[in-house]
Assembly symmetry: C2
Homo-oligomer: 217 residues x 2
């Protein structure tokens, strides 16, 4: 029984890594489409988000079946519950990538990234991509030093997010209302993407160490 | 065993109703603080959000203990998993109310709601409050006609959300960048609040009917 359970947990972990890999590809294309106004690339992100949704749904089914079949208790039970929560957060990360891609599609053939913020969004996008790749690695290895890296990079995303508002609300801002809307939404989506990764990293910490992490901590 | 389980499920349901009641109070004060620039009211929302977080965390603990003690399978298992998901969504609804309150605090003593959008935000706010109250009633009664009402009101919130962008991106918009940022974020928070309620309503449908609803459907 215990061996079967361990095998099933490995299957759960493999699937989390698979979904996280898709999310990393999605944010990479989304931020490129956003920064380069590449509408074809944006459309691949939008069209393929359902794959992430389906895989997350299938993983939830597997987790529920494991609960039913193996009736885990104590730490094992919390591992399975954590997997359900991680899957929900990965699904939301995919949604954030999709929203970023949608912004570039809406404005096409206009450039979506307002002048004066291109460098900021390039940096935020690069950080989100880096965070997603590290998250995949963290889910694969449970090496908690990676969780620390993710938190540090999230701090940088938060600082850039605040700098977007400083810019937009500053006296030198000459953007039209459309630029202000785009900057506001894009910055929020980039920031939420990184937040979800931090939240997942905390849950992986539980998987690795047994320190239980409440929801949304 | 079965009877104890039913009793524990009732406890879960009572607690969901309790959290939903707090969320309804929170959005009511948040939207009033937003519409009336009432910073003292905004602060009560911000200060009290941790209560919602704590109750949601305690409910998660209870649900996990029920899984461990009762080892439910089949439909019973999915009911408990649904409760975990509903609790996470209620917690996010509380966050959205808090974000709306934060917007009014940031801009104080300036009015946060841009001219020309006050009616729109009053309507959106009133719909969110109505949705939260109906959600509480739905969780209490499992009367699925209420879920239908919530979906219809969410459609109205979505339409108002789009109308905010029409206004802000239209030629008659004279708002400053700060107004555009506020309108964009506030509209997004109002819309997400209602989305979470719809997502919860679908999960209650499962509790009531046994039709399983995948995550984030």
């Amino acid at each position: 029984m215990r061996e079967v359970f361990q095998q099933e947990l490995r299957e759960v972990q493999d699937r989390l890594v698979e979904i996280s890999t898709l999310v990393a590809g999605s944010i990479e294309r989304a931020t490129e489409s956003f920064n380069e106004s590449n509408v074809a690339l944006a459309e691949t992100v939008i069209e393929e988000d359902h794959k992430i949704d389906e895989l997350a749904g299938a993983l939830d089914e597997l987790a529920i079946q494991i609960l039913a079949r193996q009736q885990p208790v104590a730490r094992d039970l919390r591992i399975v519950v954590s997997a359900l929560r991680i899957s929900a957060s990965l699904e939301r990360m995919g949604d954030m990538a999709e929203h970023i891609a949608q912004l570039s599609r809406y404005r096409f053939p206009e450039k979506v990234v307002p002048k004066g913020l291109r460098g900021t969004f390039r940096d935020m996008g690069a950080l989100d991509v880096e965070i997603a790749k590290k998250l995949t690695e963290l889910l694969r290895t449970e090496d908690m030093s990676i969780a620390e890296d993710i938190r540090n990079e999230d701090d940088k995303v938060d600082a850039l997010h605040l700098s977007v508002f400083d810019k937009v609300l500053g006296e030198t801002w000459k953007g039209a209302a459309a630029d202000t809307v785009d900057a506001t939404l894009a910055s929020r989506y980039h920031e939420r993407f990184a937040d979800h990764a931090v939240s997942i990293a905390k849950k992986v910490q539980y998987l690795a160490t047994g320190d239980w992490v409440p929801q949304d901590a």
